[in-house]
Every structure is written in structure tokens, then in C-alpha cells.
């Protein structure tokens, strides 16, 4: 045997995967070329460049696993100069092996220490293996259908950010290599106006979305072509365990709302029916002040104008309104009750559009458009004119005697969109209310005047950016002024409470999906409220929850006065994770929020002579863990649960040393809830949620007849609320939508000095709402609403005592909140007709008839002068409101 070609060493076998083939290099045997004299192999050739053979296409069908043995001649430079098949696997495999082998490069072998040519045995193994892909994209596809018929829509343009495709004859579309992250999806076609939504796509996931688009039988005016219901399967993101969201399109068509989208909140499960004319939002048995209201990320003090007839945001600017009655995530806090999020409509590039609407109560106008693609704007203004109307149709100045709400509001928004996925918006929200009345009596002590002036202004900037990795960044600083002045005069007894606040807020949030199964969110929620307050009059006016009094009762004539300033500041970092497990069927959402806060009050003790006032401050730092879990047990059944701790800082009004307590700290609530959602059919779903809320450190009146100085209020109250709510909902399909909501709940409080629970002043055991709307075609639409609710609790008057100093009887009460106002039920009807003037303009007229049966609903209990007889103040009689809206 020629020593130069004897096997000198074993080379490590190399194996790799490539394409659909795999191979193995055999342990080569080395021998010198025959023509050279034999020498000693001092260094075997080392593979320097490996070339993979191609599994022949012609053989893929067979999937054969085989090998080709080769004899390679390697020159002194390490090049393969010849490759000869010595063990064939067939022509195709042999050729592939030879082609690859000729491209191999070696460190040359050495014989006797010098580079030399050698011949080696080499083997390629061929094996067809499954495709192994390292995914970098998502496969996003689906179908677009006509909502009313369920038939697929062909030729519809589907745009995923900058990518565009059209649906095929089966209505199908697909983006096989969509980038992960949050995307804007728009769907457009000749028969309808483009609609849009956002989708979050994860790497390696395949999405099968269904978009049901409401295609009108006849083209609609632009204002009517928005907010079609979109149902997305598989990619649905649930932000909250118990949130109920209503699109602007549906909300504005609900009877009894007067076309006001946000008014629909009153019809959602978990919301108590407010007394007519109050507009108070009582959610899951929490006080009205315990529910926070946001317009996107901007906190506003109220949702409705005084009287509750209108919301403070024009409906044309609203995309949806969402109510989270409890158990919400770590991104929000400072409220013991629910959360209302008003989502503003995204500003889009396009031609100018606008609207003008008017009814008996107010008039409004809106406009939106863009300058080029990058500068976009929208604005709206509304003003009430009921006082003007009444002044012309009545023979007396009724405004002097009845509380006619006078209000206006305006919203302005400007956005700069430098690129897709990034925007800077500057906006303003303004609202103002005035309401007053006077009741002049022959007895000056019975003459009453009441008035309230309130309003708020907000200026905000919002920066939003969608990152390339799918994450989002949102930063919203805002500045605002809140003002409220309640003034009344009962005879000689004044009651003034004025609060002027300056508010600085910042909300910054980041969301991202670092790995396939995990979404993260983190941010900062900061708010500083500086208030200057003035209060004069009785401690009993304005009344607090739990006060024993009857409707219309004059306040105590023991009076006092205070002026004070407060600063309530909080800076809350928060973080939240969403673990997607079991293929997305299970979501575990832990979160936490740290709420450090400081409350500074300018006066810690009662005013006394020339003594200068001395301030006080209190710092708190609260940890608020939150946790939610969702499980899609089946395609149609989802189970969910949540628990969370919430704190709420004291109200500036309560920090008076004279009327309240300047050392109050935050109140606390713990929410527990669990529920299930069942998708009964494509359009019909039912959701059920049970909840329990425990509240501690609530602010209550001192029960002492001689309280400690500066402790007219103390923080010893307890509260609890529990119940179940059910929502049976039919989405907008085939021109019909509606829902049935029912809440069974109990809300209770304790007063100072006792651990005994009594019903909350705004407790309603049963709240039932049924509403529906149907598009009759030819522009006609009809809707109805029926509401039933248990009456609010009231405390019975068991006898009366004559106050001989004032010659008035004062009530003596029985057990606290042990009787109720009779139940309320009312039916409302709405009929509308749309007239189309052109492709882009039209007119809608509507008749919204509240209490169509003219049912006399008791709203409050009233008594005669000596409380020996009682009766009820009744609410709205039949009230038709006619209005119209012109759009272009």
C-alpha cells in the first residue's frame, strides 16, 4: 500500500442541514497519487470550505434517503481537481454530489512536511427532512364579507400599512409575510367607505380574520359611512376583563340618547339609572366621583353637562365609548369605581367633511379634514339654546323659576403624521355649564335661589409611535383648568362651594411583545391638581352620601366659612404583562402600580383671630397589584377573572379644616370579579360577570355631637358592593342591533361610629335595559329602549318636630335607607329618516320620544309641611324631541 495515500487520519464528520436535504461527509480515507513516490503523510487535508449538495428536485417526491461515495483528487493547493463516483445512488444524486464536491476547498495535505496532492474517499448522505423555518413574520389573512348577507366580497382592497392586496372571488385575502407588531388595517371598496382597525400580529402566528362590512343598499353620505362594525376572529385583544364597548355608530342610534353617542353609557350593564336631570354616573354601586372619565388619555371631570341631557364631547369626534366598571388594569387608578374611556376618532387624511345639527335643546357643528396627507384636523362646537327657545314660547321668563341648563362645549384637534405609525396631536377640550333658578316666596325665609357654574378646559399633546418591532409608545402631557361654583340661598342661609383647580397630567405608555407569548406594557400616570376653594354656609349643604334629609329640605342655618388651598399630586409608575399560554387560549395578566402621592392643605386648624394659618401635608405610597386571567375554553366560550387594589385621593372639597378634615388620606377598594362570555352565534353573544368590591377608609361625617377640631369628616367608613350583570348583545347584522342588560347588585355603606351596613344612597337592586334599532331601508330607521330599575333607597320620616324658632317642621327619621322610591320603568322610541342629497351630503331628521307611554315615574319623595303626608315628585312626562343633522 502506498504510504502517501494510506489513511493518515480521520477527519471529523460534518453534518448540516440545508434546504430540504441533509448530508453527511464520511470519514475520508487519504492516499497519495499513484504517480508519486510514497512518503509519510504528516498532515491530512482539512476541509476549509464546505459546499452542500442539492437534493435533486426529481427525487423529492420519493423522499429517498441515500448516499453517494466519491473519490476526490485534491491538489497541493487544496483544490478538488477531480471527483469520481465510486458508490452510486443514481444519476441525479451522483451529479448533485459531484457538483458539490468540486466546489470543496481544503487545507492541503502534507507529505513529509510538504504540501502534496492526495486522493481521498468522500461521501455525501442525502435525506429529505421537514422544513425547519426560523420565523420572522406573521401570516395574516382572512375574509371580507357583507355583514347583512354573510356573502364574501370580491375585489375589496385590503391594506395592511403599506401593503395592499385584493380579495379574491371567495372574499379571501392574505399577507403571508406580514411584519409583527401593531398594524393599521383598512378595507375599502366601491360599495362602501373605507373602514379601519388595528391588528397586533405576532411572529410565527397565522391569523384568520373575518371582517364583516355593512354594505349599504344605496350609497350613504360621508358622515354615515363610518364605524361599521368589525368583527375580528383570532386577533381580538381584550383590554379588560369586564369592559363593555360601544361603537359610535351604534351609540348614536339608541333611543333616548338624542343621538348622543356617549349617553349610551347609561344603558350599559352595571350602571345605575340616574335620577332625571342629574346625569350622575353610578357604576357598580360606587359614588359618582369614584368613576374616572378619560378622553383618550386625558382625564376630564365629568361626562355629561348639567342636567344630563348631553355629553361634553361631540359625537362626531367619538369613535367609541368603553365602560370598565371594575377590575381594570394597572394603567389606570385613583378611582374606587369604574372607568369610562371615550375613544376619539382617528384623524384621517381626506377631503373636508362637516355636519350641523339642531334640536330643541342645543345646536352643534363639526368639521374635519386634512391639508395634504400629513396635517389633519377636526373640531366641533355645541351650544344649548333651550333658554332661548323657552323665552320665545312661554309668556314668562321661566328661566327665573326653573333650572334650565345652559352649556356649551368645543373640541379642537390638530395632528401631524410624519409617517405611517407616528403622529403628534395637539388638542383642546372645553366645556362650560350654567344652571340656576329662583323660587321667590312671600316668606323671605322660604325664598330659594340655586345656581351652579362649572366647566373645564384641557389642552393636550399626544405623541404616538409604532415601533418597527411592533411596540407602541404613547406620551400624553396635558394641562387643564376645572372650575365649579355651587351657590344657593335658602332664606338667609347661604351655601357656596367654589373650587378652582389647575391640573397638570402626564400619561406615558409603552407596549411591546418581546417574545411570542408575552406582551408587556409599562408607563407613568402622573397628575397634579392644585385647588383654591371657598366655602360658606352650613356643613350640611351640599349634602353628602349618607346624610339624613329629605328632598327639598332646607339646610341647617348653622353656618361657617373657609378658604383653603390644596395640592394633590400623584406619580404612579405601572407595569403589566400579558402571558399568552396554551396557544393563546389562556392569558394571564399580572400588573402592578405604585401610587405615591402627597396631599398638601393650606390650613390645618380652624381660623382663629389673627393667628396665621398653618398648613399640613400627608404623604402616602400605595402598592396596587392587579391580576386578570382569561381563558378561551372553546371557540365560543371565554372565562375570565380579575382582582385588583385601587386607591383614590381625597377630594379637595373635603380637606377644609372647617367643613372637612385637612388630614384625609386615600380611600381604598379591592375589586374581585369573574365572568364568562358565550358567543352564541356570529352576531349574538352573552356575557355574565359577578363582582365584589370592598371599600375601606371612606370619608364620612363625624358622628360626635362635639367633634374634634378640623375633623368634621373622618375616614372610618366602609363600603361593599356585590352583584351580577348580564349582557345579551346582538351586533349590527342585517340592519339590526340591540342588547339586553341586567344588573343585580347590592351596594352598602357604614357610617361613622357603627359597623352596621346600610344601603348606599344610590343602590339599585335591579337595573334592566332593553334596546334595539332596525334599519328599515330607504333611509328609515326605528329604535326603542325600555328601562326598569329599582328605586333608590330613602330613609322614612317617622315623625316631625316643630322648630319654633323658624316655624318649620323638621323630620325625625327611621332606619337609615330602609325604604325605597317606587320602581322606575320607561319606554323610549326613536324614528329617523335619512335624505341623500349627493354622494357626500345628506340630512337626517329624527324624532326621539322619551317616555312614550307617559308613565308617571316617581323620582323623589316629598312631604307636606309637617311630614304627616307624603307623595312623589314624578319624572319626565312624554317628551318628544325633534331634531335634524345635515352632513356633507
Amino acid at each position: 500500500m502506498n504510504l502517501r495515500y494510506r489513511v493518515a487520519a480521520l477527519m471529523a464528520a460534518a453534518a448540516a442541514s440545508w434546504g430540504s436535504a441533509s448530508f453527511a461527509q464520511s470519514a475520508p480515507r487519504v492516499s497519495p497519487p499513484a504517480e508519486k513516490a510514497a512518503g509519510k503523510l504528516t498532515k491530512p487535508p482539512h476541509l476549509k470550505k464546505f459546499v452542500e449538495p442539492v437534493y435533486p428536485d426529481s427525487e423529492k417526491a420519493s423522499g429517498k434517503k441515500t448516499a453517494v461515495a466519491l473519490s476526490l483528487s485534491i491538489d497541493a493547493d487544496g483544490k478538488v481537481v477531480d471527483a469520481t463516483v465510486v458508490g452510486s445512488a443514481g444519476a441525479a444524486f451522483d451529479a448533485a454530489a459531484v457538483d458539490a464536491a468540486k466546489q470543496l476547498e481544503f487545507d492541503p495535505a502534507e507529505i513529509d512536511g510538504a504540501p502534496s496532492a492526495v486522493r481521498i474517499q468522500y461521501r455525501y448522505d442525502f435525506e429529505l427532512k421537514p422544513v425547519v423555518v426560523v420565523p420572522t413574520t406573521a401570516d395574516f389573512g382572512g375574509v371580507v364579507r357583507d355583514k347583512s348577507t354573510g356573502k364574501p366580497l370580491a375585489g375589496v382592497t385590503v391594506r395592511l400599512d403599506d401593503l395592499t392586496t385584493k380579495t379574491d372571488g371567495a372574499g379571501l385575502f392574505r399577507f403571508p409575510e406580514a411584519a409583527p407588531g401593531v398594524h393599521s388595517v383598512t378595507i375599502s371598496g366601491d360599495a362602501f367607505t373605507p373602514v379601519g382597525t388595528e391588528e397586533t400580529l405576532a411572529v410565527g402566528h397565522k391569523y384568520d380574520a373575518t371582517y364583516d362590512v355593512d354594505v349599504p343598499k344605496e350609497p350613504l353620505a360621508p358622515e354615515e359611512r363610518v364605524d361599521f362594525e368589525i368583527v375580528v376572529v383570532d386577533t381580538e385583544l381584550e383590554k379588560s376583563v369586564a369592559a363593555t364597548s360601544v361603537s359610535a355608530d351604534q351609540g348614536g342610534r339608541v333611543a333616548g340618547t338624542g343621538g348622543d353617542v356617549i349617553k349610551v353609557v347609561e344603558n350599559l350593564p352595571g350602571v345605575a339609572r340616574s335620577t332625571v336631570g342629574s346625569g350622575a354616573l353610578v357604576v357598580w354601586g360606587a359614588g359618582a366621583a369614584d368613576t374616572r372619565v378619560y378622553v383618550d388619555d386625558v382625564h376630564i371631570p365629568v361626562l355629561y353637562h348639567e342636567g344630563g341631557f348631553r355629553s361634553v364631547i361631540h359625537s362626531d369626534l367619538v369613535q367609541n365609548v368603553e365602560l370598565e366598571p371594575g377590575g381594570y388594569g394597572a394603567a389606570h387608578g385613583r378611582g374606587l369605581g369604574g372607568l369610562v374611556n371615550v375613544g376619539m376618532r382617528p384623524l384621517e387624511a381626506g377631503p373636508y367633511h362637516g355636519s350641523v345639527s339642531v334640536d330643541a335643546i342645543d345646536a352643534s357643528a363639526s368639521v374635519r379634514g386634512s391639508i395634504g396627507d400629513k396635517f389633519r384636523f377636526a373640531g366641533a362646537v355645541r351650544r344649548s339654546h333651550l333658554d332661548w327657545v323657552l323665552a320665545r314660547v312661554t309668556s314668562q321668563d321661566v328661566g327665573e323659576f326653573v333650572p334650565i341648563p345652559r352649556y356649551w362645549d368645543s373640541q379642537l384637534r390638530f395632528a401631524y403624521v410624519p409617517r405611517d405609525g407616528e403622529s403628534i396631536e395637539i388638542g383642546g377640550l372645553l366645556s362650560s355649564d350654567h344652571i340656576s333658578r329662583s323660587l321667590v316666596e312671600a316668606d323671605p325665609a322660604d325664598t330659594k335661589t340655586e345656581g351652579k357654574d362649572s366647566g373645564f378646559e384641557r389642552i393636550y399633546m399626544r405623541y404616538q409611535r409604532r415601533q418597527d418591532d411592533g411596540g407602541t409608545v404613547t406620551v400624553t402631557p396635558y394641562f387643564g383648568l376645572d372650575r365649579s361654583k355651587i351657590s344657593s340661598q335658602f332664606g338667609a342661609v347661604p351655601a357656596i362651594l367654589q373650587n378652582d383647580s389647575t391640573l397638570y397630567g402626564l400619561r406615558a405608555a409603552w407596549t411591546g411583545q418581546p417574545v411570542d407569548f408575552l406582551s408587556l406594557g409599562a408607563g407613568i400616570d402622573a397628575e397634579v391638581v392644585s385647588s383654591t376653594l371657598h366655602r360658606q354656609g352650613s356643613v350640611t349643604e351640599p349634602p353628602r352620601e349618607g346624610d339624613l334629609r329629605v328632598f327639598g329640605q332646607a339646610p341647617s342655618d348653622n353656618v361657617n366659612f373657609d378658604e383653603w388651598k390644596t395640592v394633590v399630586a400623584g406619580l404612579a409608575p405601572y407595569a403589566q404583562a400579558d402571558f399568552s399560554l396554551a396557544g393563546g387560549a389562556v392569558h394571564l395578566v399580572p400588573g402592578a402600580r405604585i401610587e405615591p402621592s402627597v396631599v398638601v392643605t393650606s390650613r390645618s386648624a380652624l381660623p382663629s383671630g389673627d393667628l396665621p394659618s398653618r398648613g399640613t401635608s400627608r404623604e402616602n405610597s400605595e402598592l396596587e397589584p392587579r391580576f386578570a386571567a382569561r381563558w378561551s375554553a372553546t371557540k365560543r366560550i371565554k372565562l375570565r377573572a380579575a382582582v385588583g387594589i385601587y386607591h383614590q385621593p381625597p377630594l379637595a372639597e373635603d380637606l377644609s379644616s372647617v367643613f372637612g378634615n385637612p388630614t384625609l388620606g386615600p380611600s381604598k377598594a379591592v375589586h374581585y370579579l369573574a365572568g364568562a362570555a358565550f358567543q352564541l352565534s356570529k352576531a349574538v353573544s352573552v356575557e355574565m360577570t359577578s363582582f365584589y368590591s370592598k371599600q375601606t377608609d371612606l370619608v364620612t361625617r363625624s358622628a360626635l355631637s362635639v367633634p374634634v377640631q378640623a375633623e368634621a369628616l373622618i375616614q372610618s367608613g366602609l363600603g361593599r358592593a356585590y352583584g351580577t350583570q348580564i349582557l345579551l348583545r346582538h351586533d349590527l347584522v342585517k340592519h339590526f342591533f340591540g342588547w339586553l342588560s341586567y344588573s343585580l347588585l347590592r351596594s352598602e355603606r357604614t357610617d361613622a361610629g357603627t359597623d352596621q351596613y346600610r344601603p348606599f344612597d344610590f343602590d339599585q337592586t335591579h337595573v334592566f335595559t332593553a334596546l334595539a334599532s332596525y334599519d328599515l331601508g330607504a333611509g328609515f330607521e326605528v329604535g326603542g329602549r325600555f328601562r326598569y330599575s329599582t328605586g333608590y333607597p330613602r330613609t322614612p320620616v317617622i315623625r316631625a318636630v316643630l322648630d319654633a324658632r323658624t316655624d318649620t317642621y323638621e323630620p325625625v327619621f327611621g332606619p337609615h335607607n330602609s325604604i325605597r322610591i317606587p320602581s322606575f320603568y320607561q319606554a323610549d322610541v326613536r324614528v329617523s329618516k335619512r335624505f341623500k342629497f349627493s354622494e357626500d351630503s345628506g340630512l337626517e331628521i329624527y324624532l326621539d320620544v322619551q317616555n312614550v307611554t307617559d308613565h308617571s315615574n316617581p323620582e323623589e319623595i316629598v312631604y307636606n309641611a309637617d311630614y304627616t303626608k307624603k307623595s312623589y315628585i314624578t319624572g319626565l312626562p312624554i317628551l318628544p324631541v325633534f331634531g335634524g343633522k345635515l352632513t356633507w
Binding site: V276, G307, L386, L390, R392, V393, T394, V398, F401, V402, P403, I404, R437, A442, P444, A445, A492, Q536, V539, L548, S556, N558, V559, L606, S608, G609, D610, S702, S705, V706, P707, V708, Q709, A710, E711, R799, A800, V801, L802, D803, A804, R805, D807, Y809, E810, V812, E859, E860, N864, A865, T868, K869, K870, S871, Y872, I873, T874, L876, P877, L879
Partner: protein, 367 residues
Amino acid sequence: MVTRTMRAVGLLLGSVLAFGCKPNIEGRPSLVDRSRVLAVQSVPAEQAPGDEAGVDYRALYAQVDDDGDPSKVEWAFCAIRKEIAVIGPAALECLAPSGKALAQLGDGADVHAVIDKDDCSVFGPSPPTPKEGEPASRPADPDTTGGYYQPVRLLVPTHEDPDYVVGVTRLACGLSGATQDQSIEYADRYRPNENPALAEIEVTHSNGKKESFPVSNDVPNVTVASRERITLRVTWAACPTTSTCGDGICGAGEYAMDRKVMGDDVAGCPDDCATPKGCTGSEPYVELDAVKRAIVSHREAMRVSWFGTDGSFDHDRTGRTEEEVGDAFSENDWVAPGSRGPVHMWMVLRDDRGGVGWTELTVDVGS
């Protein structure tokens, strides 16, 4: 053109916004259809706690049936302050026949009592000094005239549950939260309240005929036709609207001169600031204005409560505000019943510092 329909719609909206419909409920306080107490008078109307002279209390008891018996009225001082959020004249514990909160005074249509010397700390501006380590107590809030009151509870038996009535004596206490100078000024200028008194009753018949009756111990009598509408006017003393030297009222300028804090060009009247003198009409008084943080002058508002055993008054109560101090009278219309017979009337005059006075009138309703 404003049509009737438009007006109806407007009124409908107006009524809706006036919070639906407020019912009229039977039971007007001016109709005395059972025996009951109509007023309680403290003589004097205002007194310093602990004054050994004491206070005479008397009730205006309208006895219109056999159940009424003024001798069975039970009197008691309420000894505790009401809770801060309670609207009413006295602590709930005092609206009972007996209890720790009550200091019994006796039975009858009138009683005599001495007000406890510590009342200014219980009901007034001077809470007791806290013990070491204990927080200070909150002084009581004054009424709109700056007053504090000792409540006196009347238990009035009826054939069913007893009536409870609370009268008061205004307490001559100091001020809460005032400077030393303000306290001194207040002490010098403040004059205790005097019960008001009605001076004359004038009746104007539907035919324009007028009858006047000076108030005396005799109950005047008038005759009216059934269903006749008459106008009743009561008058009271016209107290001076501006302070002049010698009127016994310590005006601001007079006080200032008395304290020698103003220039010599201001005519002083120290005597007016040294001798208390009241008035049975709308008296001037001073109080500490909590908003202005200063001693300010006021006049009493006056109210008249009208009561009758039959017929119907237009108003249960009428009155004059502080700004109407020049009008020392008040009027009310009364419609006689359709049935014949006597109707007894009571007119009760109250000032807003807790003072009370009354008179009576008998009306014979003819055919």
C-alpha cells in the same frame, strides 16, 4: 307668532326641567285643625348663661278640640349639642320623653328656668379647654345672625303620639375665631335681642272697608261674609334705621368714638354704647362676618306666621327681609270658609335672632 301650542310646549319643557311635577300635598301649616303649639317665647329672648334671673318660657297653645290641654305640656332643656350633620333644632336624643340628654323643667303652659352657665361651651363658641394630650373640640357654628341657642324641648301630648316642639333662648356668648379687638368691639356694640311685638292688626274687607285693632290683651273681633276675601295687615314697631345719639343703639361711629380710635370730627355717643336698649321691631345688631373677618352691622329680618282654625290664607308665612326694614308691616289675604261660625286666628311675629311675639283675632263668618 307664538301660538298657544308653542306656549304649551314651552311650559311642558319648563315643568320637565323643574324636575318633573311636584305634587300639592294636603296639610298646610296655617290651618289649625287640631290642638297644637304654634310658638314658644323666651323672656328675655336672649340671656347670658348662668344668669340667676332665669328665663320665663311660654307656649302659644292653640286649643281647638277637647284633646288639647296646655297644662300637660312637658318642658325640658336639651343639654347636648346636635350632631354636626343633623338638620333640626336639637339633638335627636332630646326628642324623647326623658333621657340623659334632657333636664326636666316642669309641666304647664309656661315654666321658669335658669340656663346652665356652661352653655356657651356646649352650644356656643367656647368649647371646653381640652385635657392635656387631647385634641381641641370644635366650637358650634353660629346661625346666620351669629347666634347660639339653648334648645328647650316641649312634649305636647295628643290623643296619638305626642308632638315635639323645640323653642330656644338666644345665648349671650362671645365670638369664635375673633381677634381680641373684635371681641371687645362686639361686646361693646352688641345688644341682646328683644322679643318683637305686633302693634296693630288692620283688616281690609273685600268692599274696601278697613278696620284697625291695636294689639292689646283683648282679642279683637271682626265679621266677614262667607267666602269673603279679606286682607290682613299686621304692623310692628319701626326701629330706627340709622343710629342717632340718644337712641340707645351703639352705632359704628359712636362705638369708634367711644373707643377713641377715630378722629375728633366724629361725634361720639358713649352713653348709647353703655346702656342696652332694644326695640320690638326690626332691631339692628352686630355680628362677626366670617367672610370679611370684621364686625358688621345688620338688621333683623321679620317673619309673620298666620294661623286660622278655618278658611284659607294665601300664604302660610310672610315677612320682610333685612333690606326691607323700612316696611314695618306684612300682609296676607284670607278667604273665609263657606260655612258660618267663628274662626280663630293667630299671628306670630318672629325676628331672625330667635325673638317671638304674637297676637290673636276672632273672625265671625256670617252668611
